[in-house]
């Protein structure tokens, strides 16, 4: 397994894994080919059959033969490729995350796929596959080496975290699946797209049904329109609701089975999954904030979701750590992750009547545009004046509703360690970002905002979506907020007020410094 230079191969059971996987991909075309050829009476399937067996095996063996990896004193290296050898090297102190993933096939064979995130760019080093104990050992080793190799960032993270840090050798469970949370599954629409796609596929088969032709349909129509339409609609509704409940609950169980969120050795590890198990580890110091979302349906039943905002874990950097669950749970877990007890519960400072006006005007632009569009067919086809009026009233009402919701969700707060931003119209979102994670400010004033003296403040960061947007804040408080959140950065650029308070020193009372 190990040669003199320390290069190691993947687990030999990969020799079973890949052929089965490749065979799966080969199987359908192969069967089609063999059936198609044999029905045309040719003789070549006889020698083609061994080829179909050998090809997947050859394809499966190749990666195992060519892939090797080793750990030197300073780096993790992977070598792959048959003719063009590729060598990937990641310095140990740059390794940000080590994830394990196992599909059903992996689990049957006792294997796991290891993915190593380096945070330098978006490429992740993948080792597919190692034996589970070996993979866990590697994960443990790499992450432990990271802390010793990067002693300086570790001490920096200790400075940031007040209170006693958890002892290195004890794992702290932050969250565990609670099956009473299943009641939230049907209210989370994130899986709806998948279902819609499936229905689309199924409807293709509808054409094949023998009774769905023109003649039957038209004779059935009279009967239908007489009695059955309400019944059909009702049945469709019930079937749809029951189907949706079953699908959403099943999806929830598949994705979140055995959920464990653990803090261990300065790492936050998430494990979950029924068929495919995932284990994601992120360095705690890399977690620069959290985001709680409460989609409109979920909010009706008091549920929410929680994600972490981390740096150096590839594009996005937003990792969902809690499934739809009670809001209180997201608050508690979020606070434990943030090491501060207020950011997710502190009341947000609203942005005032001018921001409300801005929200309403902004929401009515589409109404205006679409009403204008509706006038065109009305004039061209002579439809009657009520068409554009109907569009205007319906969209206008919708606009008022969403604008009001958007304004209610709008807000900001500043705690001892974090910047908090509220946003979203239909979905209420609260983004919490470590003040130390802010790496710049953008203060933007659109044409209409400038007339109202409003501004949009954007905190740029390397974590999560890489920006936290605080919309429609009055210009003065916006500057004050930015100045208070990252003391010192704005100081040289503040205008001297002739009779106002000095721009630095004690915080004026208007700033929203919430005490944690």
């Amino acid at each position: 397994m190990t040669d003199e230079e320390g290069w190691q191969r993947l687990d030999p059971r990969k020799l079973l894994l890949d052929p089965v996987k490749t065979a799966g991909q080969f199987l359908l075309p192969a069967v089609v080919a063999v059936l198609g050829v044999s029905s045309s009476g040719s003789a070549w399937p006889l020698w083609a059959v061994p080829l179909l067996v050998i090809a997947p095996i050859a394809f499966g063996v190749l990666p195992w033969v060519t892939t090797r990896y080793r750990i030197t004193d300073t780096a993790f290296q992977q070598r792959s490729g048959l003719l063009n050898t590729k060598q990937l090297s990641a310095p140990l102190d740059r390794i940000r995350s080590v994830d394990l993933e196992a599909s059903l096939l992996h689990r049957v064979l006792g294997l796991a796929k290891v993915q190593i995130g380096t945070g330098v760019d978006d490429t992740r080093i993948t080792l597919d596959a190692l034996a589970v104990p070996q993979a866990e050992e590697l994960q443990h080793y790499l992450l432990a080496r990271r802390t010793t190799a990067a002693a300086e960032p570790a001490s920096e993270s200790d400075e940031r975290s007040p209170g006693p840090p958890p002892r290195a050798d004890e794992a702290q469970v932050l969250a565990r699946i609670d099956w009473s949370w299943l009641r939230f599954a049907p209210f989370s629409l994130s899986r709806l797209a998948v279902v819609a796609g499936a229905i689309g596929v199924l409807s293709q088969f509808g054409d094949e049904l023998p009774f769905l032709d023109q003649e039957h349909l038209s004779s059935a129509w009279g009967w239908l329109s007489a009695i059955a339409i309400p019944l059909i609609v009702l049945t469709a509704l019930v079937v749809g609701l029951v189907g949706w409940t079953v699908i959403s609950v099943a999806g929830y169980v598949l994705q979140w089975w055995g959920l464990m969120l653990v803090r261990d050795h300065g790492l936050v590890r998430l494990t979950a999954g029924l068929v495919t198990t995932r284990s994601t580890s992120v360095e705690e110091a890399r977690i620069r904030g959290v985001e709680r979302t409460e989609p409109v349906l979920l909010r009706l039943v008091g549920g929410g979701e929680l994600a972490t905002l981390a740096t150096g874990v590839g594009v996005g950097g937003v990792t969902k750590v809690l499934p739809p669950c009670p809001v209180q749970v997201t608050t508690d877990v979020g606070h434990t992750l943030l090491k501060e007890d207020s950011p997710l519960s502190v009341p947000l400072l609203p942005h005032g009547p001018l921001a409300r006006r801005r929200c309403h005007v902004r929401a009515q632009w589409p109404t205006l545009g679409l009403t204008g569009l509706a006038v065109v067919p009305t004039v061209a086809l002579d439809l009657g004046w009520w068409v554009p009026v109907l569009v205007l009233v319906a969209l206008g009402a919708l606009g008022v509703l969403t604008a009001e919701m958007a304004w209610r969700h709008l807000g900001h707060a500043l705690t001892d360690l974090h910047l908090v931003a509220g946003s979203g119209a239909l979905e209420r979102t609260r983004t919490v970002l470590e003040r130390d994670g802010v790496i710049g400010w953008v203060l933007r004033q659109g044409f209409f905002q400038r007339r109202l003296g409003l501004a949009t403040l954007v905190a740029t960061t390397a974590a999560g979506a890489e920006r936290v947007v605080i919309r429609d804040l009055a210009l003065g408080p916006a500057v004050a907020l930015a100045d208070a959140a990252v003391p010192g950065l704005l100081t040289p650029f503040l205008a001297r007020q002739p009779n106002g308070p000095p721009p630095t020193g004690e915080r004026p009372s208007g700033t929203s410094v919430a005490q944690g």
Binding site: P153, I439, G440, V458, A474, P477, G488, F493, A495, R496
Partner: protein, 165 residues
């Protein structure tokens, strides 16, 4: 509403005064396309109704307004400043944008010169941080000034430690 009146002052430096003719020329080149289109429509559509003429006239006037108003307005708005600790810029013409990034978090500094910009001896500097939302552009600096700024920012950021996230 808060009674607090904090405000940012203007960044110290203007961009190169040659930026005005440069913006005017590039706006005019864009406008040329519109004018050619409008001119073609004017001749190829002789029996247009009165509102057709009016529409064409309006279309032709928009770039004209843009070419005359935008460059000088933009020259008044665009300002920049680099201190020992931060980069600070203001840009825009109808809308405004102020950007600030601490030099300790800066990752790269590039200068860029398009063909037309070379004609005017101008350069644009882009300062990036670890955030995709945070690149700071200083448009249309004098080329020599730009080189000086790049060297200066590189010197300051080179002294900073950590991985700037």
């Amino acid at each position: 509403m808060s009674s607090l009146e904090s405000a940012l002052r203007e960044p110290a430096n203007r961009v190169s005064s040659r930026a005005v003719p440069f913006w005017r020329l590039s706006a005019a080149l864009g406008g040329l396309v519109v004018w050619v289109g409008a001119g073609l429509a004017f001749f190829l559509w002789p029996d247009r109704p009165w509102w057709g003429t009016l529409g064409l006239l309006a279309v032709a006037l928009i770039p004209l307004g843009y070419v005359t108003v935008m460059p000088s307005l933009r020259f008044r708005i665009h300002r920049w400043e680099v201190t020992e600790t931060a980069v600070f810029t203001r840009s825009g013409w109808l809308s405004r944008e102020q950007r600030i990034a601490p030099l300790s978090r800066v990752q790269t500094v590039d200068s860029h010169q398009g063909a037309l910009m070379r004609l005017f001896g101008l350069s644009t500097i882009t300062v990036t941080t670890a955030s995709a939302a945070g690149p700071i552009r200083i448009d249309c600096l004098d080329h020599q000034v730009a080189l000086g700024v790049v060297a200066e920012v590189t010197r300051i950021t080179g002294a900073a430690e950590g991985d700037a996230t």
